[in-house]
Amino acid sequence: MTVTAGVDMGSTATKALVLVDGRIAGSTARITGADPERAGEMALKESLDQAGLQLEDVEYIVATGYGRRALELADESVNEINANARGAAWLGSSEGTVRTIIDIGGQDSKVIALDEDGVIADFVMNDKCAAGTGKFLEVIADLLEIPIEDLGDISLRSTKPVNINSTCVVFAQSEVVSLIARKEAPADILAGIHRSIASRVTTMARRVSMDRVVVFDGGPAKNKGLLAAIEAELGHPVVVPRHPQVVVALGAALIAADMLTDDGGGA
């Protein structure tokens, strides 16, 4: 039995995934908070509990994400772009070979283009700015007093999405405040917000890849309204993995398994 684990130490959420003989045995996500190392350890422990395993059973742990150097438990750390590519390519798509990944995280969003062998061909990331990221959704959810997991369903009820002109989170926030004051329906505001994020990330996507097999992952991929907005912008369907938030952790666990078996390719 080969047990490996991937821990994705994100800016907002920390994710862990346990792989047993190439099958996913457990996975969790939790808030990163002020102590990323503890968040990483807890996430790993919870995933191991799900798999009915102990820390001693794990042969190799790979950390990834912004906080990857904070996790002392890890044997190795890898770049999250590579982990993401590995995870998404492994999951695959019924539409064909995965060639484009749209990943929206807590503090950045990225688009990764893969070649026919699953090797990274190009990538872009948003600038150091929260527009088009999960943080943006959080701020708006707060403002509208709607739980973040309900954003998608509510926005899908929109009949007349508003136009959000600001791409800056701070400005968009004040724009939303005035929309609320004008008594625009929350559904319409949310649909407008989703449209604005979708337009931003699809512009990035077009810069690196025009391929139609697109995987959308990261926590915000659970938001059906945002997914619909991205599909509308791209003009074709987009694949969302069953657990989009742990794709990067999955990639890290797969890379951990690679490292056990070969020279540690990963890419």
Binding site: N79, N82, A121, M125, D127, K128, A267
Partner: protein, 482 residues
């Protein structure tokens, strides 16, 4: 116009030379309250100088970590201390003897003319991060190039001894930032704005540029009180040619595989002439070149011989703003080439003299600053693309990192085209848009690391493809292996 060969000739504008009007405004155009409080200014200056020293220490320490760094780098290290370089004393002595110092920006000031008048040229484009906030007090544009704001801030806070020593500064009007920077600087010092034509290969552009350089000659002569004669100009052109020859030698040495010198060290070596005596630089650069040639013979690599070979392109990277080159090399890349105006760009097209007569010399010297320049302030700028392609080939570049200073629209504007032409040659390119501050270092690290992995993955793939092709040719195992 008489052409006198072989002996001193009077300048053609003897009479006019004495009558350059002082164009400085009598009252400041920009009021800066912070400048009135001298105590606060002193304090600010001390803080900035202290921080700059820390930054320089930090990067120098990192650069010394290279497993087998060339010994000849020691002189460049000492000189790069910048705010405590022995060069400052030399310049002070020169000034005490009545000598003049002329500041320059970009790579358009005719250095040969400055030196021919016994003045010292110093390039003032700044790489200091913590003068930006002060610069913003007069140029409050958040989207403006950090180099422009940093340079202004340096003058406002008197942080650089080289800036303080400058009796005048030559500011080329190449981009919006430099344009207005020159204007604001006029409240602090004598500024000579130079009109750079943006379409450069027409007859009218050539003649306008010649006139601009002639006007500069006049300004230099007036300031220094030294008329520039044939002999001095020839001497200085020959010095520039000697410097370019050794710089070209160093440039060619970077083609070595494995690399014999780090990209950060090369960048530093190419920036040392900004403030140094060029003839002294030539001596030390020659020693470095000899050491590196020996390394090539002995096969000594400066770092990991398998490191991805990276080319640095885009907006200028001025010491000590070495954030990007540091990130690339500490993430395992090796910068084997750069096309930066703060790097190797001054090498291109040495002054081509047909005959050593005044008019030919002057014209060749002046044109050398305009025609071969591939600054994106020019249009069309096809030669830059061609040059980058050539460098990719010559240096066996495996990936290009394109540096954009936020607000530098002309470099940003050419990035897509450069990326496409690099990709046409099978070389990936990463565009990094950033400022001087360190706050985005970790985000950038993610990108740089992923980019280097991408380059390595491509290399593996190419090797595999080659092996397959070899098998097919070989015939023995052909067919199914592919």
């Amino acid at each position: 116009m008489p052409k006198l060969f072989g002996r001193k000739r009077p300048n053609i504008r003897d009479a006019a030379a004495a009558e350059v009007p002082d164009t400085r405004p009598s009252a400041p155009r920009y009021r800066w309250k912070g400048g009135e409080d001298e105590e606060r200014l002193d304090e600010l200056s001390r803080i900035i100088v202290g921080r700059a020293k820390e930054l320089i220490d930090h990067y120098q320490e990192q650069m010394r970590k290279a497993p087998s760094r060339p010994e000849a780098m020691a002189w460049f290290d000492e000189r790069a201390r910048f705010l405590s370089s022995p060069r400052i004393g030399e310049i002070e002595e020169h000034k005490a003897n009545g000598g003049k110092v002329i500041g320059t920006m970009c790579v358009f000031a005719p250095l040969e003319l400055i030196r021919a008048a016994d003045a010292i040229p110093v390039r003032l484009c700044s790489g200091l991060h913590n003068t930006i906030a002060t610069g913003e007090e007069l140029m409050a544009d958040a989207g403006l190039c950090p180099m422009v704001k940093s340079t202004l801030g340096v003058k406002m806070t008197h942080a650089s001894p080289f800036f303080e020593a400058s009796d005048a500064v030559i500011v080329p009007m190449v981009c919006d930032g430099k344009f207005k920077l020159g204007e604001v600087l006029q409240d602090f010092m004598e500024v000579w704005m130079v009109n750079v034509p943006h379409i450069k290969d027409t007859q009218q552009a050539r003649s306008m540029w010649l006139d601009e350089v002639r006007a500069l000659q006049q300004q230099i002569e007036t300031l220094t009180g030294n008329r520039i004669y044939w002999e001095e100009l020839k001497r200085e052109i020959q010095l520039s040619l000697r410097a370019q020859t050794v710089a070209r030698r160093l440039y060619d040495l970077r083609k070595a595989d494995p690399p014999v010198i780090n990209g950060r060290d090369s960048l530093l070596v190419n920036q040392t002439p900004h403030t140094e005596d060029l003839s002294v630089w030539v001596e030390h650069a020659t020693v470095l070149a000899q050491e590196l040639e020996q390394r090539v013979r002995d096969g000594i690599a400066v770092s990991d011989p398998e490191a991805p070979r990276i080319m640095l392109a885009g907006a200028p990277i001025m010491w000590p703003n070495f954030k990007i080159p540091q990130l690339i090399e500490e993430s395992g890349g090796s910068i084997v080439a750069d096309e930066l105006c703060s790097g190797t760009r001054w090498l291109y097209d040495p002054i081509g003299i047909d005959e050593w007569i005044w008019d030919d010399m002057f014209q060749a010297m002046a044109e050398r600053y305009l025609q071969p320049s591939v600054c994106p302030c020019f249009t069309p700028n096809d030669p830059r693309i061609g040059r980058i392609k050539q460098m990719i080939e010559d240096f066996r570049v495996e990936g290009v990192v394109y540096h954009v200073l936020r607000g530098c629209h002309i470099y940003n504007g050419e990035s897509t085209r450069v990326k496409q032409s690099a990709e046409d040659r099978g070389v990936p390119m990463l565009i990094i848009e950033t400022e001087y501050s360190q706050e985005d270092t970790e985000q950038l690290r993610t990108r740089v690391e992923a980019f280097l992995m991408l380059v390595r993955a491509r290399r593996k793939k190419a090797a595999k493809a080659k092996r397959r092709a070899f098998k097919t040719i070989d015939g023995s195992e052909g067919g199914d292996g592919a």
